[in-house]
Symmetry: C2
Subunit: 568 residues, 2 copies
């Protein structure tokens, strides 16, 4: 059975149920989506609640057991218009006007009829396993000036077993949701009301985690011959005229005025790195030059599409630009691909690869695009790396390799990207002196190996369900004193551990030891050390692991060795 | 003899000389300043050159040897106006209008007469030691809409010896000028034309230096119980309404529009850190809470006042906000003062202390200001630290301690500041639960211990004349190969040194060894290792020090030990 048809039919059955329960409901659209379906409704006098979902499910079951056939009805547009007008389906009327054909189709089951291209199941009885999942607001046609409709999400499968597997996974995903875990573990917050949506504030533990990752990244880049640079967040708009951003990327840019000139809050780091390259003459001997920056950029996104750390308005890329000769291009691409793969493995992700080709709006010549795309394909093939083609998903200045990270639940996350660019070097008239003394144009690679720190942190939280491995945990060891008199010993232990660069916190307070353990466990701290009279007198620690519980008493020295071994 | 009178008279003598040479010159103002004097001229048909300065000096010497007396002449304003009109002294006429008195004074020497309050030397012959230094553009009354005048700077002393000492120091300062050394050592650039004035781009060596300092700072803060946080660069304007910035600081802020709401590019980090504090309830047990961030801020400054790294439009503060109880305030202030002093000593600076009190535009109650000012005074007195009072130079939300760094030439630089603030905690309604369970307001300390990374880097470059001590040098060791065949050995040496976390560069090229040494010396790299056949065969390096020249051949191991010892 085709899952798309099954789910699309499920959305019709849901709409039929909604119309029975709320006759004033007007229909929006009701497609099948990658893991289920939804339908949008305008119900003027009613805000749907989770309780209503149960009622709707019950009504759907009635429609299913009646086993009503899905009938296809074709009619002329004028007739269709009359029918929809009678039913006051104003949204469907709008859709109808957009259909160029003279004849349109409806699908009817029981007393429910809906403008629809189809196809559908034979009858409602074929739907065996379904579940309604959630309610959300959605603007009609996704445009914020339009009315806000009520969207019901659901899913459907061929069998109950499949449905059960899926909903269990959804529950697991919900538990791992970084938007929930982030504030719970006090890693970050987004102060929508006070500061604005899409802008992330890193609290101490989140900042600690970010610096652990950033320091690691900086070392890895240095080891591979990258050089740090730092550029300002604002620059004159004319820099972005040269790069083409004001032409191809304007809707995503923030502008401000300084001394009657237009300035831009940088949406990308490339033009700044190009300015640094151009500040002096370069010889072929110096290439490849690799500039790296943990560069914070700001891009406008409509508030409706913002989503936790995954879709934000400000984020920090682990961004680098490589300037090389055409002869070096292949080798550099291979190095970057290896670098990206190695990073993802370090953080516990699997991956798959997409190749994104020329979009509708693009800068540069067709020849350059072909050249750049071929370079990427050649690199992937040299690595015997399989890939999917994502037609038209490149950036305006060049094609790219997108590496999707796959987390512990097998879900894909947008990760590293690698772009080959022959356009910006031309627009900025970049050159180097070749071995024959002639001026030549370098090729430019734009690349990130984790992506954005925000999105990566979101993926990391969900991958580990917030229980970070020891080397990443913002607090690695929590010291739990049994009574206030053990605080002195706790401070001695803390100092000894910090000397070894371990990250330690003391849970002093007057709570009982059980409460302290529960709270450290809730914060997913890898190790808890319980410190009482016995431990103090023997200069030892009673170790509790987040995953294994009590693992016995160790001398302080043993414990340090034990942690060091785990972090290798 | 009073130096101010001497220099003011020198400026009159210079103006007399200019009028003799360029009779159409109109006079602006001609005061004595801290280390000399200047006079502003409007000479319509003439742009002054350094050559002209020599001519003017020659003419001044004539006026001096004529030993003309300075005569004071008083007259009614109406009469003065007639005189200035006749001489077409339009700028002086404007000044005259601003004088409220009925009688004004002129000073005359020879055929030169000038509206002036005096006093002056008895006669021109008393000026023994003077020198004209430079020409600069200066807007009339410092307002950019006004005409640009030509300013001549000069200096004068009682004796030739004093003059000589001063000009030698000026030459030394000029050699150390970070605006010259920064690009020469390829540390940073400001791309006025392409990106905008006041916005600093760190090239690889400058970024390396900045990260050395930043990593050091982060360790030092961690050691002292500070926690990292990271906040976005933009936030809704209403956050800044609450803090009072839009009321007291508006002219220095950049605004942008997002979704029809006003946003601010942050000029300060405090409101962001306050949001994080306020995200949960705090108990007295948690205080003091110390949030630290290397926070980049943007502040509007008129383009005329921008100056290298010292006065910019974007800069990164080593900023922290401490939230503590009133009882903890004194102790926290003492810790911060110690921290700041220790940092400055580490980087080779002496210092002196100013206390800046309530400005004209201020937020909060007089009582809170008094309270805050007293806390700062008490801390300074507890440390037996002498200080000057800078009346009215506090920030709108609180008084501050300004620590001036003194460099190798004894020049003062703006450095750390420490502010006590009772106002923002009130404006943001911040609280903590006291030991009796009651809600209380924390006190807030704003502090930077180096100041801004930009200004500090500027001071650092000039303090060391670009020859950074080994631990700060972006490149510590330059490897100079005698011939191409030594490149392999150079790479072995490089790897061995990098394993020890040393920063190494290879100067490969085909230049002669002498040229390579000169170029490394020009880049002020602490150590050069010359690598030829002899060194390769004996696994050794021929060491050249930036300051001591050739210091002999060492084994690689010896050399590593030698460097480590220097960095302790």
């Amino acid at each position: 059975m085709d899952l798309e048809i099954l789910r699309h039919s499920a959305s019709h059955i849901m709409a039929a149920a909604v119309k029975r329960l709320f006759p004033s409901a007007k229909l929006g659209i009701g497609p099948s989506i990658s893991d289920g379906f939804y339908y949008d409704f305008d119900i003027a006098d009613k805000t749907l609640t989770p309780q209503d979902l149960l009622k709707i499910e019950k009504q759907m079951k009635k429609i299913i057991s009646a086993n009503l056939p899905f009938e296809r009805i074709e009619m002329k547009k004028a007739e269709a218009k009359k029918l929809l007008k009678k039913d006051k389906e104003t949204y469907k009327l709008e859709l109808l006007e957009g259909i160029p054909d003279e004849t349109v189709s409806f699908y009817k089951c029981g007393d429910f009829i809906d403008l629809c291209r189809g196809p559908h199941l034979k009858s409602t009885g074929e739907l065996k396993a379904f579940k309604l999942l959630s309610i959300a607001g959605a603007y009609w046609r996704g445009i914020e000036k339009n009315p806000m409709l009520q969207r019901i999400y659901g899913t459907a499968f061929e069998t109950d077993t499949e449905l059960k597997t899926h909903t269990t996974r959804l529950e697991e995903a919900l538990k791992r949701d970084h938007r929930k875990l982030g504030p719970e573990l006090d890693l970050f917050r987004i102060y929508h009301e006070e500061a604005g949506p899409g802008l992330v504030f890193y609290h101490p533990k989140g900042a600690e985690l970010r610096f652990i990752i950033e320091d690691f990244l900086r070392r890895e880049h240095k080891r591979r011959g990258y050089q740090n640079v730092i550029i300002p967040h604002i620059a004159k708009m004319k820099l972005w005229d040269t790069s083409g951003h004001t032409n191809y990327y304007k809707e995503n840019m923030y502008f401000l005025d300084i001394d009657k000139q237009k300035y831009v809050l940088k949406p990308m780091n490339c033009p700044g790195h190009i300015l640094i390259y151009k500040s002096k003459l370069h010889s072929y001997r110096e290439l490849p030059i690799r500039y790296f920056e943990l560069g914070t950029v700001y891009r406008y996104e409509r508030s409706g599409v913002l989503h936790g750390l995954l879709r934000v308005r400000g984020f920090t890329q682990d961004d680098a630009h490589i300037f090389c000769t055409e002869e070096q291009l292949q080798d550099e691409l291979l190095k970057v691909i290896d670098f990206a793969f190695e990073m993802l493995k370090t953080f516990g992700f699997e991956y798959e690869v997409d190749l994104s080709t020329r979009p509708d709006k693009y800068a540069g010549t067709e020849e350059n695009w072909k050249h750049a795309t071929n370079a990427l394909i050649a690199a992937l093939e040299a690595k015997k790396q399989s890939y999917n083609i994502d037609e038209g998903a490149g950036v305006f200045y060049g094609p790219k390799i997108d590496i999707k990270m796959k987390d512990a639940l097998g879900r894909p996350w947008q990760g590293p990207t690698i772009q080959v660019d022959f356009n910006l070097p031309e627009r900025f008239d970049m050159t180097y002196a070749a071995s024959d003394g002639k001026k030549k144009r370098p090729v430019m690679i734009h690349r990130v190996v984790l992506g954005s720190m925000e999105r990566f942190l979101g993926a990391l939280i969900e991958n580990y369900a917030g229980a970070f491995p020891l080397w990443l945990a913002p607090v690695q060891v929590e010291l739990l004193t049994i009574a206030d008199r053990h605080l002195k010993y706790a401070n001695i232990v803390k100092e000894a551990l910090e000397k070894e660069d371990l990250r330690v916190e003391i849970s002093a307070g007057s709570e009982k030891i059980g409460a302290k353990i529960r709270s450290a466990q809730k914060m997913k701290i890898p190790y808890m050390l319980i410190l009482g009279d016995k431990e103090e007198s023997s200069n030892s620690v009673a170790v509790r692991s987040r995953s294994k519980g009590d693992i016995g008493v160790q001398s302080l020295e043993e414990f340090i060795g034990f942690l060091k071994k785990e972090m290798i």
